[in-house]
């Protein structure tokens, strides 16, 4: 469904992504794990059109992906960004309406809103509240609900567990599986490697802008190098 081929991104003189290639199949959860600064968010932002890439090609549903962010959303890819970036000055309802910014199919929008309120009942309870007053977990749910409002086929989730309490992290990951069951494809970027691998079909390990490992998520979870570097087992020198 999504094919990233030999992507190279530079920030000034820094070579942030060095020929990254990934493949996301329809209906799957694909996780990208890696430490801080490995280039995970850069990869996701390149797909979303927020970061411009110098070389490489991104193909989506057999077509070249447009480079402007709004055209990418129109094509059916949405991003739930790191740090959530909900609109704290707008109400919960207005945030959800922003998610549907490019859509004009009123009835379908209302239907999707209902579905999102089933998925996140707390948002229904807070629909007229200013989003800035929500708790961190609620804001994450709002960010995910807002992303779903664009009715995407592919959802890019950037660090959804960041800064949340362990119990909430479990809830968020349960919801990610539910979103997959709605027929959506998910590209998940996470520092919480164990969680990310356990719900994924396929995974990539990104280190300093290079894909160092890739494969079946269940296999990667047992991989010695992954266990050592990201799952905290037999930890020696790496953090």
């Amino acid at each position: 469904m999504l094919k990233v081929d030999n992507l190279n991104v530079y920030y000034g003189g820094i070579h942030a992504l060095k020929g990254v290639s990934i493949n996301v199949d329809e209906g799957q959860i694909v996780s990208i794990i890696g430490s801080n600064g490995a280039g995970k968010s850069t990869l996701i932002n390149s797909i979303s059109g927020i970061v411009k890439y110098k070389e490489g090609e991104i193909t989506y549903k057999e077509n070249k992906l447009p480079k402007q962010a709004h055209k990418i959303v129109k094509a059916g890819i949405c991003q739930v960004p790191e740090g959530r970036i909900i609109f704290a000055n707008l109400t919960v309802m207005e945030n959800l309406n922003m998610g549907a910014f490019l859509r004009n199919d009123k009835n379908a929008i209302e239907k999707d809103k209902k579905r999102i309120f089933e998925l996140f009942p707390i948002l229904k309870a807070r629909e007229n509240q200013i989003a800035g007053t929500l708790s961190g977990g609620e804001q994450q749910m709002l960010a995910m609900g807002r992303g779903l409002m664009s009715n995407p086929d592919l959802i890019l989730l950037d660090e959804p567990s960041l800064g949340l309490a362990p119990l909430l992290i479990n809830t968020i990951f349960d919801i990610i599986i539910e979103i997959k069951n709605m027929g959506k494809t998910i590209l998940l970027v996470e520092q919480n490697a164990f969680k990310a691998l356990s719900i994924a079909d396929k995974a990539y390990v990104l280190e300093q802008g290079v894909v160092t490992l890739e494969g079946d998520a269940k296999a990667l979870i047992k991989d010695e190098k992954v266990q050592e570097a990201y799952l905290g087992k037999k930890s020696t020198q790496t953090v």
């Binding site: 609109f87 000055n89 207005e94």
Partner: protein, 293 residues
């Protein structure tokens, strides 16, 4: 008592036109985080367009209003295109925006002075009788009334667009976070185009109103200093704040002129600005909603 009410009426009339200009500052600031000091130039051009429409083209005065609004809107949009967009694309620091804005302002002023229009003061043809409408003991100047009506109607329209329409929603979202609204599929170039167009249209109206009330000259845009103060006073980036700040400033100015002396007018206005900024740096209604980390 009637003396006081008279000052209130005068204050509302001048304050409403300040508001018409102040919202232009606020709209741009809310999204681009800089004060567009070229706004005065847009107002000045609006005043000239209205003047020449009436004197050279002899169009009805409401057509002149329409043309100066359109002309100023186009000017504001093209300035964004030529001056600010290249800076935006290069992620220039905001100081560069302010300096470019000042440059653009001086450029506009001098291009008028250098042109056949020249630096002379020009008086709008008399459209209304100068005898005021009497409401008991209160005199309502016809132009003052027009200033108040046009400003109130256009500000109401602007606030309706911002609060109730989808475009308005996207402007409010973009003002909170550009990346966030980009990810929702908002074309930020388009949003910026729209805010400059709206600010420019209102500036054109304000320019013509000021031209009618006073005279037209290349430095007439300097009057925006007042509306800039009002926008800061009310809270830069907040439309409601800009309107409230402008009305308050208009009232304070007329009260000071009426009860003390017009010499103290600007002194007190600027002292007030400094006082508000010291006491509450975000202004009366400035944005301060926080994002949770």
């Amino acid at each position: 008592m009637s003396g006081f009410l008279q000052q209130v009426v005068n204050g509302l009339s001048i304050g409403s036109v300040y508001a018409l200009m102040a919202v232009g500052y606020s709209l741009v600031y809310s999204i681009m985080n800089f004060s567009n000091f070229a706004h005065g130039g847009v107002i000045m051009i609006g005043a000239y367009i209205g003047y020449f429409c009436l004197t050279l083209l002899n169009v009805p005065f409401f057509v002149a209003f329409l043309l100066s609004a359109i002309g100023s809107g186009l000017l504001a949009v093209s300035m964004e295109r030529v001056v600010y967009r290249p800076l935006r694309k290069r992620n220039a620091p905001f100081l560069y925006f302010i300096i470019s804005a000042m440059g653009a302002s001086i450029f506009l002023e001098n291009i008028v002075i250098a042109s056949p229009i020249g630096p002379t003061f020009r008086t709008y043809p008399a459209i209304f009788s100068t005898t005021p409408i009497m409401l008991g003991n209160i005199a309502l100047g016809r132009i003052d009334l027009l200033m108040f009506v046009i400003s109130t109607v256009s500000l109401a329209a602007l606030i309706y667009i911002i609060e109730k329409t989808k475009i308005g929603l996207s402007i409010r979202a973009t003002s909170y976070n550009i990346k966030g609204s980009t990810l929702m599929g908002v074309n930020v170039d388009m949003v910026i185009f729209i805010i400059f167009a709206m600010g420019g249209i209102l500036a054109g109206l304000a320019g013509m109103l000021f031209g009618m009330k006073y005279t037209v000259y290349p430095q007439i845009g300097n009057i925006t200093t007042k509306s800039f103060i009002a926008a800061v006073f009310g809270g830069l980036g907040s439309l409601q704040g800009a309107v409230v700040g402008s009305i308050l400033l208009g009232l304070i100015e007329t009260m000071v002129s009426g009860y003390f002396s017009s010499q103290y007018r600007d002194l007190i206005a600027f002292a007030l600005l400094i006082f508000v900024l010291v006491a509450k740096p975000t202004g009366l209604m400035g944005k301060n909603t926080e994002d949770k980390a």
